[in-house]
Subunit: 517 residues, 2 copies
């Protein structure tokens, strides 16, 4: 049953409930509408597009839509497509049940680990540091005080030609035309008051659009009044760090693997980070005690690439309820799963104890500096105080992203990006099988990166070879928390989403060249 | 000599040096090029536009340009206008003399007080607070628990129809078309790496454009490497507060009049604010002792509206040199002076002890959330650390503002805005003379607001009348530091820049109606 649903759930977050394909699809759509996860007015993908996504016949989708139109759940009108009917049947909007079942349900059946991707190098506190040489690296300027050597005796270390460092999407495929179109509309529609100092939570248009999107795509129980727009996940984490410290917390549990920039941001807020154990079911919350919070990547552990086991999802939430601790869910790449529908947001299990943190950095671009927090109600005032009581993000980008979401441009972009990354991942796995059979890709088929397990003792050698082949790539060791007790083995963390299309095959070729045969 | 130069210096920041008009203009332009304040490649205004600005004959400007082209200082090419020649004659770039003389020189001859405008209500830490009723105010939602009274016995307080609260420009005149055009170009020209995590100082394109603009328009000794882009002045002040605290400072001197949001931001950083005395020459720096910093609005004291006397400018810098204290120059509305060229930036006197803080909030719109700091070199690392080592502002807005500046759209917009605000100010002063002769407009002819002195004991009455006439306006009392010892008298602080054009005459009419006759 899992196979035909393929990448289905990423947009609609449906759960097929058994039976034939048509019946399964019909039931899943009906349930999504009934529960409110698909809000009234939501436009569904065209039958052609959904069928292609699912790998099923277009007629099957068209029939399922027709059934639901007949039942009154959907409406279909020439020119405006198929939409969720405005007549509300079940508990919708911010009712208690929305998304909760989804969040719990989709966790079932997955059994790997946990998942977050932001590049170590991307947030570097030394301004001049060039941490991603393939992208931003420039050769150092010649020192005018030193006479120029006409020819160096040894060739200098080559400048990386390819970049497989994880943490960014393919920036060359940023949808410039669609973004500009959305910006034009947003500028034309904005009341002049939109140019004023704004609501410290962020623009209501964006918070509303996000609430709808997060509910249907990630099973988040979202309400515009619970959302705060931030300047990317780093800003979100800084705000939460300040709030936790002000509440008296001094320690935050983190995963054994993650990003040091996040640990450093928490440290800057006065919070010690202590790693939780990690095994094949993901991060083990059994060691959670009196920490003020736990920072997790439940849908797709970064960098290890698993999903958090459902028992552990439940255990984390139990801990939070029992102790009053906060769960911070870093849902950095929830849009990108290639084999099945993604695990729903942990926040859906308990919106009063889980902060859902999302970002446009992976789905669109880090340069937008747009992220969001979906907060438990009692945290809002404290987060806004930490934010300085002021909106931090530009109005125009916020309005443009809102327009991008509501017009369907975001879904279109994500669908195209998903296809691009999925093909890259498939090509990578196929090429490994052919040329480096001792190397194994691990983790779920998702996201923008993969961990490649190497034969013992070969990581350092592979990294050295990469440097000399002009390939920027990271070893797993740099993603390990200094206090973590784990048997990590040798591995590379490969960000296959990073290169532009034209450089991808070259990057893959370079990667294969440096892997042990 | 002062008269004919009128609004001249706002864009080019020139000092006429005596002699005939043509010779004065020629000398001033030559000096600006020689000193580097007009960087090579800078495009000069058309002779028609400059002549209109100065109220002189177009031929006079054309002749001055021709002289300087002949001398090699300028170049003129059909289609690309008149530009500063690329051949560098004097000390340019970040040489020691750039802008310093300008900063000192333009202070001469002014003799009033000091000048910063950000609205008290704009940065409000309580999310739901409606602090600017004319703009964002909504009547409170009816309480569903209370039965609706069909008709209230007394009319409710009227909802303000007009907004004269200072701190925002006319948002309805935000240059949407020009901005979109710049955004289109910026998007088209940006390398794909621009969408990545960026330089924590901000985009180099914007820092470079700002360095050129601030040098020519404000006499700032700017270098792109000394500039940090921030999310508005509030963000700038938060960063500086964190840096000062980390350096061991616990007290910051402020002006007797100012914005409580600024005092509160400093307090949130752990810094006590102590007001300096204020008199007809502006803020008195004589009481500066061991404070870690002083926050000033030297070009146009907010809200009192004077410029800081040149002796006091020198004294502030002396104090900083002597004690190692930091001068924070809040240059919020330096673009808008109507009677003469604006006082140059205090930073020009000593870039190693003065932080120049600017913003697009008054010249364009607060919703852009774009401001900048020009820092002493030894402060850069600390500010970036406080910033979290990451760029906080969206790439696209930064690139768009850079394009806006370099294309000349910024100058065009500022010129149009200056004309708009100047006319409003003139109309206000004329109307006061006719209808409220006991009320006196004080402060220099500049900026977006004016202080109206009222007969003793009438401020409270005027504010009450304003509320009942649907006019949102502030009394002077709310801008006074709680610890300030000043004889303030009764006054209104009128933000004549705030209303959209269509509401301006109504707002002025409402204002006159509530003033004592």
């Amino acid at each position: 049953m899992a196979k035909p649903w393929a990448t289905f759930g990423v947009d609609l977050h449906l759960e097929p409930t058994g039976g034939g394909i048509r019946r399964g699809l019909t039931d899943a759509l009906r349930e999504a509408v009934r529960s409110g996860r698909l809000a009234p007015g939501t436009r569904l993908p065209s039958s052609r597009s959904l069928a292609a996504d699912l790998g099923i016949a277009r007629n099957t989708v068209a029939d399922a839509y027709a059934d639901l139109v007949a039942e009154g759940w959907l409406t279909a009108r020439q020119g405006s497509g198929t939409r969720v009917a405005e007549r509300v049947v079940g508990p919708v909007a911010d009712g208690g049940g929305v998304g909760a079942g989804a969040g719990a349900g989709v966790g079932a059946g997955t059994g790997v680990g946990v998942g977050a991707s932001r590049p170590r190098g991307a947030v570097d506190s030394s301004p001049g540091a060039v941490s991603r040489p393939g992208v931003s690296g420039r050769p150092p300027a010649p020192d005018p005080a030193r006479p120029r050597t006409p020819r160096l005796p040894h060739p200098p270390a080559p400048r990386p030609a390819y970049n497989l460092i994880p943490g960014t999407p393919d920036l060359a495929s940023f949808p410039r035309t669609a973004w500009l179109k959305a910006a034009r509309r947003a500028l034309a529609d904005a009341p002049y008051q939109a140019f004023d100092y704004g609501d410290p939570r962020g623009r209501i248009e964006l918070r509303t659009a996000l609430a709808g999107y997060l509910a249907r795509a990630r099973g988040v129980r979202a309400d515009p009044d619970r959302i705060v727009i931030c300047a990317g996940f780093s800003h979100s984490l800084r705000l939460l760090g300040a709030v936790l410290w002000a509440r008296g917390a001094r320690t935050v549990a983190v995963e054994s693997y993650g990003l040091d920039v996040h640990w450093n941001l928490l440290a800057a807020a006065g919070l010690r980070t202590t790693p939780l154990p990690f095994d094949e079911r993901g991060t083990d919350p059994g060691r959670l005690t009196d920490q003020g919070a736990v920072l997790l990547t439940p849908a797709h552990q970064f960098p290890m690439g698993g999903t958090l086991h459902r028992d552990r999802r439940a255990a984390v939430v139990d801990w939070a309820r029992r102790t009053g601790g906060l769960v911070i869910e870093d849902d950095y790449d929830g849009e990108f799963r290639y084999d099945r529908q993604p695990v729903g947001a942990l926040q859906g299990l308990d919106p009063d104890h889980v902060v859902h943190a999302g970002t446009a950095s992976k789905s669109l671009a880090p340069g937008l500096r747009l992220g969001w927090l979906v907060l438990p109600p009692d945290l809002m005032a404290e987060v806004l105080k930490a934010k300085g009581g002021i909106d931090a993000c530009g109005t125009l980008d916020q309005l443009t992203l809102a327009e991008f979401l509501t017009s369907g441009a975001y879904d279109r972009h994500v669908r195209a990006a998903r296809l691009r990354y999925r093909r890259r991942r498939d090509a990578l796995v196929a090429e490994l099988a052919r040329r480096a059979p001792k190397v194994h890709a691990t983790g779920i088929a998702a996201g923008l990166h993969v961990v490649l397990r190497l034969p013992p003792g070969t990581e350092h050698q592979a990294l050295r070879a990469a440097a000399w082949h002009g390939l920027a790539v990271h070893g797993l060791h740099r993603y390990q928390h200094p206090e973590a007790v784990v048997e990590r083995g040798d591995a590379l963390v490969v960000g296959y989403g990073t290169p532009p299309d034209h450089a991808w095959s070259g990057a893959l070729e370079a990667l294969c060249a440096v892997l042990p045969e």
